[in-house]
């Protein structure tokens, strides 16, 4: 609402997050501009002041072009950049760029297919990342683990090894001509956007970027966001009202599930999950190279011990390192696609699915269903009988007669779940806001909450294991598992769980916030970033003070982690001396008389830390950061233009082609992200890429997306008449030009073909899709909504069946926003076998 320019890219905000889009409309009514950069002209584009169609999978080239424009035209916000980012930091002189190595950074290990990031470090220092791959290599020579000040920097930005100069060189070839060749965006259009963004940034103005899975679901997904982050840091748009990069997430509690961590590689609060090669002693794990990081991550041990106390209570003592070794260890990537392959290969035998529909929603659905068929047992908990539960009787494979039900040995339990109206609990929204929903009615029949299921399954298992006294069962038997039960159904009390998550002191009193966490076992907190959500014994998430009774930031509605902060890194909204950058963009300011930060939000900074603060020698964690370093999670307190650690595929984003692309990488010999996760196996074929033999069999680019009227894999929408009638059939969107080329009749049928699957869809011919000229060649794109499956009131083929498994190396996300395909007229059954 406070933005002067909103750039929606990799997201279809109006369609997928309509209610949040009201704030974009508000900003437009106040004179702000809306730009939509997307392969398709969508309902978001319809309201945009400018829509720029680009080739799916070319966003880094586009954003890189913007960075190039900002750097070469000196449009960066210099005061912000020099003080608040690592632009001036000097990088190890052994670092070599993709410009030097034709698409690789230094440190590439061809045998292992991964990077070694030693040469990416700061000169004379090794830095921990705040997120992602957390461990950094041991510092070289006289080097240190960076906490606060960095060893070498050049505020004049002239040193050839300083980040600013590296950045300039890295993006030197991302010119508007290159953008035109790579993305299919005419230079004039690109320039219009570049000028708009620069005009809408600076002390008086802010620009905001909004993204969703259109950026993330690529083999370079993380680097997409990195590119935007670099741009926003250069323009000074982070930590300020109307600025930032907003991720729009698709599920009610996808943020919470991430925070509280139903993820393999992190524990609640993004604490790293230990690997087999990590130290088995707690201190060694928390201080791998003898030093602790600067910023809040310097308190890692306090956070981890508090979690261990929450898990194992009295069984976690100083003597047993607070049960640190009760934690199972990782040996690599154990993400869901690995599990799928494990099912196919027979190593994974039992599978729980809680409110997700991978048979429709996961890439390469065919492979996923093959995995399900190979399980010993499967437990599905859902509101409806979704395809993941019914694969053995009505999957496409069974319908086509490829497999008979009798041949499938999987034992399936479908347990009806309670709906959000039938249980107490909190969701964390996309802005990190915890909001409580109350049980309105009791669930009927066998419907139960997941809380009930987890509790009672755990209780049964514990009762069965108690008798056998095996050492391996200690972690499960020692878990604190005493939650008050309520009502006829003996439902565990959700508030008691939230209380445990938020944390308590040794005497059992609720903790006020994460500052109270200690590493001596005197505090317990199930999720350190949620510490304080039950402060004062009050369920803070359940607060519902109407917005008209409070400030526009509305701090008394729900509770945002951490510490009820609404805008992260909001110290950056003031200049180094603590004064607002401008009156128009005032947010936080240092009040020298009160000696504290004031403003409508909770400061994301020690509240009484003066801008002039200089850390005393030996200060640690947040105390190691000077008073003008807003990025308090980073070891150096600065926004990272250059990421020395944390990423597995390079410290700077680089344009790579998707795994399957109709064109060559115009920048480097290296086509795709070298560090991407490939699964070369017969049941996961990849298409030949541009130039390879047979590439012309799959000449078009396809991309998947959602529609307003449905929800993700359809489990919560295809069974509803109200929604089904609004979008009753699977369709594909093609341009009039492609329709002509492939003789597709509007309203008729088309079959979309890949090596993985063929699906049929109704044809929607529309000028909202337009062929683009990329490197002198015409690229046609096909749009595919992915909501349908074999069940529900409306049925259809699943678009995700078409895609291969190929993942981003950092977060193991599937590439379903760009791949190649063929399109043929007519229904699936009419196609001649290829």
């Amino acid at each position: 609402m406070n933005s002067d320019c909103v750039v929606v890219m990799g997201s279809n905000m109006a369609e997928c997050h309509p209610v949040a889009f009201q704030w974009v409309v508000e900003s437009q009514k106040r004179g702000g501009k809306l730009v939509h950069v997307d392969p398709r002209f969508t309902r978001t584009s319809a309201l945009a002041d400018l829509h720029i169609p680009l080739r799916a999978g070319s966003d880094i080239a586009f954003l890189g072009g913007l960075i190039h424009y900002v750097l070469e035209n000196h449009r960066y916000f210099r005061d912000y950049m020099v003080n608040y980012t690592n632009a001036a930091t000097i990088i190890d002189e052994h670092f070599l760029d993709t410009e030097d190595l034709d698409g690789f950074f230094s440190g590439w290990n061809q045998d292992q297919g991964m990077y070694e990031n030693r040469t990416w470090q700061y000169r004379g220092g090794s830095v921990w990342a705040a997120a992602g791959q957390r461990t950094a290599p041991p510092p070289q020579g006289e080097g240190v683990v960076v906490a606060g000040e960095v060893p070498f920097e050049d505020p004049s930005l002239e040193d050839p090894h300083c980040v600013f100069q590296l950045l300039r060189r890295h993006f030197s070839r991302y010119t508007e001509e290159m953008v035109e060749r790579t993305c299919g965006v005419p230079a004039a259009q690109f320039r219009r956007l570049a000028e708009l963004i620069c005009d809408s940034s600076g002390p008086e103005r802010t620009t905001c970027f909004v993204y969703a899975v259109g950026w993330t679901q690529h083999t370079v997904g993380v680097q997409y966001i990195r590119t935007a982050a670099i741009l926003q840091l250069l323009l000074g748009n982070m930590g300020r009202p109307g600025g930032g990069i907003l991720a729009l997430r698709g599920h009610a509690n996808i943020q919470g599930a991430t925070d509280i961590a139903t993820l393999f590689d992190v524990l609640p609060g993004y604490l790293p999950m230990p690997m087999a090669q990590d130290a088995t002693d707690l201190d060694g794990f928390c201080r791998p190279h003898g030093g602790a990081a600067g910023g809040y991550w310097g308190n890692l041990k306090a956070y981890l011990v508090s979690l261990l106390k929450a898990y194992w209570g009295d069984a976690a003592t100083a003597d047993n390192q607070f049960a640190f070794n009760y934690l199972p260890r990782l040996t690599g990537d154990h993400s869901t696609y690995q599990s799928t392959l494990g099912m196919v290969d027979g190593t994974v035998k039992g599978f729980f699915v809680l409110g997700e529909n991978p048979a429709v929603g996961s890439a390469h659905g065919t492979l996923h269903r093959r995995g399900l068929r190979n399980l010993d047992w499967l437990v599905v908990r859902d509101l409806y009988e979704i395809e993941t539960a019914s694969f053995w009787r009505d999957s496409p494979e069974v319908a086509a007669g490829e497999v008979r039900s009798e041949e499938i040995g999987t034992e399936v339990f479908l347990l009806p779940a309670a709906a959000h109206t039938e249980k107490d609990g909190s969701f964390t929204n996309t802005q990190r806001l915890l909001q409580w929903h109350e049980r309105a009615v009791d669930p009927a029949g066998d419907r139960r909450s997941e809380l009930w299921f987890a509790y009672w399954l755990g209780r049964r298992i514990r009762e069965k294991l108690e008798r056998r006294r095996l050492d391996r069962d200690r972690p499960i038997l020692d878990l604190t598992w005493d939650y008050p039960l309520e009502g006829e159904q003996q439902e565990p009390r959700a508030e008691a769980v939230l209380r445990e998550i938020s944390g308590v002191a040794a005497d059992g009193s609720p903790l006020p916030g994460l500052g109270a966490l200690r590493d001596d076992g005197s505090t317990s907190s199930g999720t350190w970033i949620y510490c304080g959500a039950f402060a004062g014994g009050q369920n803070q998430a359940a607060r519902r003070r109407p917005h008209w009774e409070q400030s526009w930031v509305a701090p008394e509605w729900g509770w945002a982690w951490p510490m009820n902060r609404r805008v992260l890194y909001n110290r950056a909204s003031a200049d180094p001396s603590g004064q607002p950058w401008s009156e128009r963009k005032r947010y936080l300011a240092w009040d020298p008389e009160l000696g504290r930060w004031t403003g409508p939000d909770v400061p994301d900074f020690p509240v009484d830390r003066a801008p002039t603060y200089q850390p005393p020698p030996g200060a640690s964690a947040e105390n190691s950061l000077p008073g003008d370093r807003p990025f308090v999670m980073q070891a150096d307190g600065r926004g990272w233009l250059f990421a020395p650690s944390g990423l597995l595929d390079g410290p700077l984003p680089t344009h790579y082609e998707p795994q399957e692309s109709p064109t060559h990488n115009p920048l480097y010999e290296q086509e795709a992200n070298p560090a991407r996760q490939l699964f070369r196996r017969p049941d996961n074929p990849y298409h030949p890429t541009a130039g390879e033999e047979g590439a012309d069999r799959f000449p078009f680019v396809m991309t998947t997306y959602r529609l307003t009227e449905h929800h993700t894999a359809g489990g919560m929408s295809r069974f509803l008449a109200r929604l089904s009638q609004l979008q009753p059939e699977m369709f594909c969107e093609v341009s009039p030009e492609l329709a002509e080329l492939r003789q597709l009749r509007h309203g008729g049928w088309a079959t979309i073909v890949t090596e993985r699957a063929s699906i049929e869809a109704r044809v929607l011919v529309t000028a909202r899709l337009t062929p683009l000229r990329v490197q002198g060649q015409q690229v046609h794109q096909v749009g595919l909504p992915y909501h349908w499956g074999s069940r529900g009131l409306v049925r259809g083929d699943s678009a995700n069946d078409l895609f291969p498994l190929v993942l981003d190396p950092n977060v193991h996300i599937q590439e379903v926003k760009a791949a190649t395909c063929d399109v043929r007229p007519g229904r699936r059954a009419d196609q001649a076998p290829s």
């Binding site: 889009f21 009201q22 307003t708 000028a767």
Partner: protein
């Protein structure tokens, strides 16, 4: 007779007698075509579901207003000749217009349709006997007889919600406030201000208010629109008409015709003598 509170029986519609006429302003320039209005309306009013059928008409699978769709979002895809950027996608949520001179109301022979104290036009489902006259009378094709039910239905502007001081379900749900509810006078003011803003923007040159003028064919709408293109593009009649004086002249013509019949008859009879 059913006991219970009874509202004052109004001699004249309250809004004509100085009360407040309530209505909708649908600002299509901020409509995102999400169809929340369609769903919220069906949910609140218990409107039956339509049979799922894919139309291929852009994203519109509802197609038009009717007995089972009291809100309908139109999707118009256009290639803009004057702009290299090309496409334009217009969306607008249509609804009963609650006309100042409402044909459905004036032709309804049972009194099932009445003018409420909010100035809205409401069908009473316990009175309607399904004569079907309103169906052909409506200049917008809004009201329709429900096939399996026999009665005619249309938007009531959530009469029941208005009675407890709530806004209609569609307006409450609308994410971008494309549908605004309020006293008509205030809405008109908002709309004129908004029109100026929209017209100043590129692509807004043809923006106009539809149904905001009391001198139009139906005396203005209780639910009017800001449109970015001509009405027929959205499936709306360009110049809807319903005038009471037409009924008078028609009766005049019919009287003359009746006299002609009698004259002819008399002639035929007298001729014999």
């Amino acid at each position: 007779m059913t006991p219970g509170p009874r509202l004052p029986t109004l001699a004249l519609p309250l809004w004509q007698a100085g009360g407040t006429r309530m209505g909708f302003f649908t600002d299509s320039s901020v409509c995102i075509g999400c169809k929340a209005c369609e769903v919220a309306c069906k949910e609140w009013n218990g409107v039956p579901d339509s049979k799922p059928a894919w139309s291929g008409n852009s994203y519109d699978n509802t197609l038009r207003l009717g007995a089972n769709s009291w809100r309908h979002v139109a999707f118009v895809e256009r290639v803009r000749q004057d702009d290299a950027a090309g496409v334009r996608w217009l969306m607008s949520s249509d609804v009963c217009k609650h006309c100042t001179r409402a044909a459905c109301l004036e032709v309804c022979p049972t009194g099932a349709i009445f003018r409420s104290e909010f100035g809205t036009v409401v069908v009473q489902d316990d009175v309607c006997n399904g004569c079907g006259y309103c169906v052909v009378a409506c200049p917008f094709g809004v009201i329709e007889r429900r096939e399996d039910d026999g009665r005619a239905f249309k938007c009531t502007l959530c009469y029941d919600r208005l009675k407890i001081g709530e806004q209609p379900a569609c307006a409450k749900a609308c994410p971008t406030a494309s549908i605004q509810f309020g006293p008509l006078e205030e809405l008109l003011e908002t709309a004129h201000a908004r029109l100026e803003q929209v017209r100043a923007q590129p692509g807004g040159e043809e923006a106009h208010l539809y149904g905001a003028d009391e001198s139009d064919g139906v005396g203005g709408f209780g639910a009017f629109f800001l449109l970015l293109d001509r009405p027929e593009v959205y499936g709306l009649p360009p110049r809807p008409e319903y005038r009471r004086r037409d009924v008078v002249t028609m009766w005049g013509a019919a009287s003359v015709a009746a006299w002609l019949l009698v004259g002819g008859l008399a002639g035929a009879i007298r001729w014999r003598r």
